[in-house]
């Protein structure tokens, strides 16, 4: 029999003082791990993060999570974990600069079972009481998460120009975010 569940701890804003030393050199480069190159096609993803009035957000934290070139997650819940690329961790972190820009180097992910290739994003900043979660896709397609987005807003989750993914937290052209 199951015990009653504990209540998850309340979230809080990351605030304006997240230590710069936690943005480790190389934390936004997923193509290398312990000096060894991950398998697959290296790509660059960049974008600008703005708030409602269009002002860029500096010092905003962006984290990503994705499958490797073969579409496998390096995690025990993935039945194909044994085939995961040992030189690809799948996680990265970046902070936006004074113009609101972030940048990652990574490997183009393969298609995980039942999904189109995609990269999970989360953003955290002063004024956001909770983490905001979204996902970037490479093209429109038959993906259960993309299909959960109203058709008129799907293009906002599809990267442009190999690969630009802008994030607008609020207002016209607002990025779709997920409530999980």
């Amino acid at each position: 029999m199951r015990r009653a569940a504990l209540i998850p701890t309340g979230e809080a804003t990351v605030g304006p003082f997240f230590p710069p030393r936690y943005i480790d050199a190389g934390a936004n480069d997923l193509t290398m791990l312990d000096g060894r190159k991950a398998k697959g096609e290296p790509i660059e993803i960049h974008g600008r993060v703005v708030q409602e009035d269009g002002a860029p957000l500096e010092n905003l934290l962006v984290e990503i999570w994705q499958a490797d070139a073969g579409g496998v997650y390096r995690h025990p819940a993935d039945p194909r974990e044994a085939q995961a690329d040992p030189d690809f961790l799948g996680w990265g972190r970046a902070a936006t600069d004074g113009q609101g820009n972030y940048r990652f180097r990574t490997i183009r992910p393969g298609a995980p079972a039942g999904r189109a290739p995609h990269i999970n994003f989360m953003v955290m900043c002063s004024g956001l009481m909770r983490i905001l979660k979204t996902a970037m896709f490479f093209e429109d397609g038959n993906d259960p998460v993309l299909l959960a987005v109203p058709p008129s807003r799907r293009s906002l989750l599809i990267a442009k120009n190999q690969y630009e993914f802008n994030i607008r937290l609020r207002g016209k052209g607002e990025t779709p975010f997920f409530d999980d």
């Binding site: 504990l6 701890t9 309340g10 999570w65 039942g114 999904r115 779709p176 975010f177």
Partner: protein, 237 residues
């Protein structure tokens, strides 16, 4: 061949236990929180996995930030014993915990902090470590000071410690703040009180406990952090 995959179930949270997204008197929130309703999506492996082995990617700093040798930080020495659990009460071991806080005078070492209070050359205020197999971690630090928020109505943040915890899966990632018991500023703080449920707010406040043996020179606090997720064991062919 039969293999066992550990899967995580993420259920919606009780909204009363989580902070409002737009907080009256916290000026940035109306510009930064989505206007459109958040979208529900079906859970897939992508959100129910997450980074494992982050010590390969980031540098650990340990949990003793009160000083090194003769270079002791100024302030009330405190010892925090904390534990990270999932919703089943199962320990979350080996996960990355990042902590940051102001010094005893209420000053952060960060380019965004102004010169309202003195820096302490022996205190950086950032600990980074992995939980042990039972989900526990310990910190030796000094009690953070309160500090004024740059609004014009006299809002001061009470003493608090920030925690970022990665967790087992992408959807269990948590950023939170821990408060101290008996602080008069707690009752007025807009961020702590953005959580509607009183019992949920209480769980954000550490508990003061009697010291047992070492350390004899520090106030001792205990704190529990509960990440989202319950376990399900799935059998896969």
């Amino acid at each position: 061949m039969l293999s066992i995959a550990v899967t995580t179930i993420i259920q919606p949270r009780d909204e009363r236990t989580q902070p409002a997204r737009i907080v009256p008197g916290y000026p940035q929130t109306p510009w930064r929180n989505p206007r459109q309703p958040l979208l529900r999506r079906p859970p897939t492996l992508s959100e129910l996995t997450g980074p494992v082995g982050l010590a390969q990617r980031v540098g650990l700093l340990g949990g003793d930030i009160a000083g090194h040798g003769e270079r002791q930080a100024i302030g009330q020495l405190i010892h925090l014993r904390a534990r990270v659990l999932d919703e089943d009460g199962a320990p979350v071991g080996g996960t990355l915990v990042e902590m940051w806080q102001a010094n005893a005078a209420g000053r952060y070492i960060h380019p965004n902090d102004d010169d309202h209070a003195p820096p302490d050359p022996n205190f950086y205020g950032a600990a980074r470590l992995l939980t042990d197999a039972s989900g526990c971690f310990e910190l030796r630090t000094v009690k953070p000071g309160a500090y004024p928020v740059p609004t014009r109505d006299g809002w001061w943040r009470p003493p608090h410690v920030h925690f970022s915890v990665v967790g087992k899966v992408w959807l269990s990632r948590l950023v939170t703040q821990m408060y101290f018991p008996g602080e008069p500023l707690n009752a007025q703080d807009r961020l702590l009180n953005a959580v509607p449920d009183a019992a949920a707010r209480e769980r954000l406040v550490a508990q003061h406990v009697a010291p047992t043996g070492d350390p004899h020179n520090a106030l001792v606090f205990e704190h529990q952090i509960v990440l989202r997720g319950r376990s399900a064991t799935a059998q896969q062919q």
